[in-house]
Symmetry: C2
Subunit: 372 residues, 2 copies
């Protein structure tokens, strides 16, 4: 368990700051990890989870904060990457006192880290934290927050899919294509709406029958399949929008689509799956590039907290840029003869390294109250 | 290697905040540990040391920051306890760029932690850090700093010794007593001056012959002994002012003094030595109580940074209070039938716990820029 370890094989430069926080009165134990502030303040959700050990919590927060940095850098937004974990069982340990104590720690970092919702934390929790800190996003719309980030997450995935269509079939539309959507929770359902509006045929699956019913109720032509069968149906695009890790070796062998592009985090069970998909001629749009719309949505709340607040229209326009980002990633992959996943990592790493080494000091983050 | 572990047997409540800091451009790797801010901002030096491992560095900074919290709490100053370590070889790795990057991290904590000199860092280093942060003490007098904290460290040890004299012989003076001073570096030399002025006889030792000569040059009656012999000379007080760990089982058997009171940190090789000294009828003034004058000196710089700056007279008056603190520790030890070392710990723990649980929220630290 080392905080400072880097993984040079991954091009990983190591974390900028990792903060262990404890409040004895409320029982709070939390770790806030800031991978990079080279491009702007680090934004990432706070996960509240009963980790088996402190080492497990540290491993998780180091991994997640790094992923947020890459997501923001590749999306081209003026944000760094961070993440936080609260060690405990949210059902048993969450209290207003604990959330407020956590909010004070977020505040004490002076804007280097902005929090948001994640597993185990909710919009009302953000409102409580916001009573102690101005560096809280994902608040309720009544409190000036960006609200449900599923909206622009789905919109961004749709833009990514349009870019993949341009790259594959020469047209920025899914019109006449058939898309298999795995998981029709909040994000998947919004994605189906965009696809229907664009003229695509849609087939869905979900472990929850009620979710499938909601999707089928959107339009009579929406089809459904079992979770097991969906990857094998004859479709042009397979869209993983359920839990992570659904793209494994079995799926690589079974999938009938030319494009894999969805909203789930960490879709590949291992980095080598990217190469296996490429070898089969399947275009994989890296998950963190496709699903950056949610980050863009709450990022707008963070970046404009002191200047007029969240604007859905501005955030939506920024999320439209995912179309161009995906084209750039795919062009880079072809030019550098690598997979789109590796190309996205390289783009992100170059942007962070350039910002860090900028001799003019035009880094995205200014420390509030600092003397520089 | 766990950050959140507590040691309940020691009454240890665990650390409030531990911050791992990395700056890729300068190679900085540092850990800032804040044990408590219950009584005020955490003050403690920055140690620059080539630790064998990150785990060793963490262990050291957790231990040292806890000790600073106890020292400040027992001394009754409005400061919490913290400490920092920079991982590296100061001769090889120290650079202006690295010190400035470190200063920015100190600044980013918004005043929860104030730094000062420690092993491997110097007053000029503090001036460099201060170009990036207002939360730096131990700066040069030209920069408004408190200067050399050896001055009030020695003065405070002298006050502690006067209190031990009152407790043991009924008079607040060392007049007519003989004091064996082990180590006559900066602090020990100042202590000898105070003792001579008070009318004590002094015998000194030091591993450096030049240091012994400087002490003997203060007055013709100053005697000297070898480092090995000093503990066995016929003296009323033995004053460890060299490195830590000089009070071991051998010294307990050999020492001829009724009082042990000096400036060194961590004088006892193990907590059980306190009991062994008590069993032999030797009064041990806890090291961190006796040597708090240096903390009081740089603490004055920290606490008045925004209001007129450091005042030697005010700091000296505060350091005079070590006389009363030692009497309180000794009275508590008698009342609670424990050693002075354990009594000092209990006083410190009670003060921190009371401040933490204060329902009126009158805690010493207000987070700058916070919303509470």
């Amino acid at each position: 368990m080392s905080v400072f370890d880097r993984n040079d094989d991954l091009g990983d430069a190591g974390h900028e700051q990792v903060v262990f926080c404890q409040d004895r009165a409320s029982g709070l134990r939390a770790i806030i990890a800031i991978y990079s502030t080279a491009l702007g303040p680090a934004l990432g959700g706070t996960r509240f989870y009963p980790y088996a050990s402190e080492a497990d919590a540290l491993t998780d927060v180091l991994r997640l904060s790094r992923a947020m940095a890459y997501k923001a850098a590749c999306a081209g937004v003026a944000l760094g990457g961070g993440k936080a974990v609260i060690l405990g069982d949210p059902a048993r340990d969450k209290s207003e006192e604990l959330l407020r104590a956590y909010g004070r720690f977020v505040q004490s970092l002076g804007g280097r880290y902005y929090t948001a919702c994640d597993v185990g934390t909710s919009v009302p929790d953000m409102d409580v934290m916001a009573s102690e800190s101005v560096f809280v996003t994902g608040r309720s719309p009544e409190a000036g927050g960006a609200g449900d980030s599923a909206v622009l997450t789905a919109y961004g995935v749709f833009q990514a899919m349009r870019a993949a269509a341009t790259h594959t079939w020469g047209e920025p539309t899914l019109r006449g294509r058939r898309v298999a959507v795995e998981g029709v929770g909040k994000v998947g359902l919004h994605l189906v709406e965009h696809l229907l509006a664009d003229g695509a045929a849609v087939v869905v699956s979900d472990v929850m029958p009620a979710a499938v019913e909601r999707a089928r109720a959107l339009a009579p032509e929406v089809e459904s399949a079992s979770v097991e069968v969906l990857p094998t149906v004859d479709a042009d695009v397979f869209a993983p929008c359920a839990l992570g890790g659904s793209v494994d070796e079995a799926l690589v062998s079974a999938v009938q689509s030319r494009v894999v592009c969805g909203a789930a985090n960490n879709q590949l069970t291992s980095p080598s799956i990217a190469g296996a998909l490429a070898a089969r001629g399947v275009l994989f749009v890296p998950d963190y590039v496709a699903n950056a719309g949610g980050l863009i949505q709450v990022g707008d709340e963070a970046l404009h907290a002191g200047s007029g607040g969240f604007s859905f229209e501005r955030a939506e326009a920024a999320a439209s840029g995912i179309y161009d980002t995906v084209l750039e990633v795919l062009a880079t992959a072809e030019r550098e003869q690598t997979t789109p996943a590796a190309a996205a990592d390289r783009i992100a790493e170059r942007r962070m390294a350039e910002a860090e080494s900028d001799p003019a000091g035009s880094r995205g983050l200014r420390l509030p109250g600092g003397t520089r």
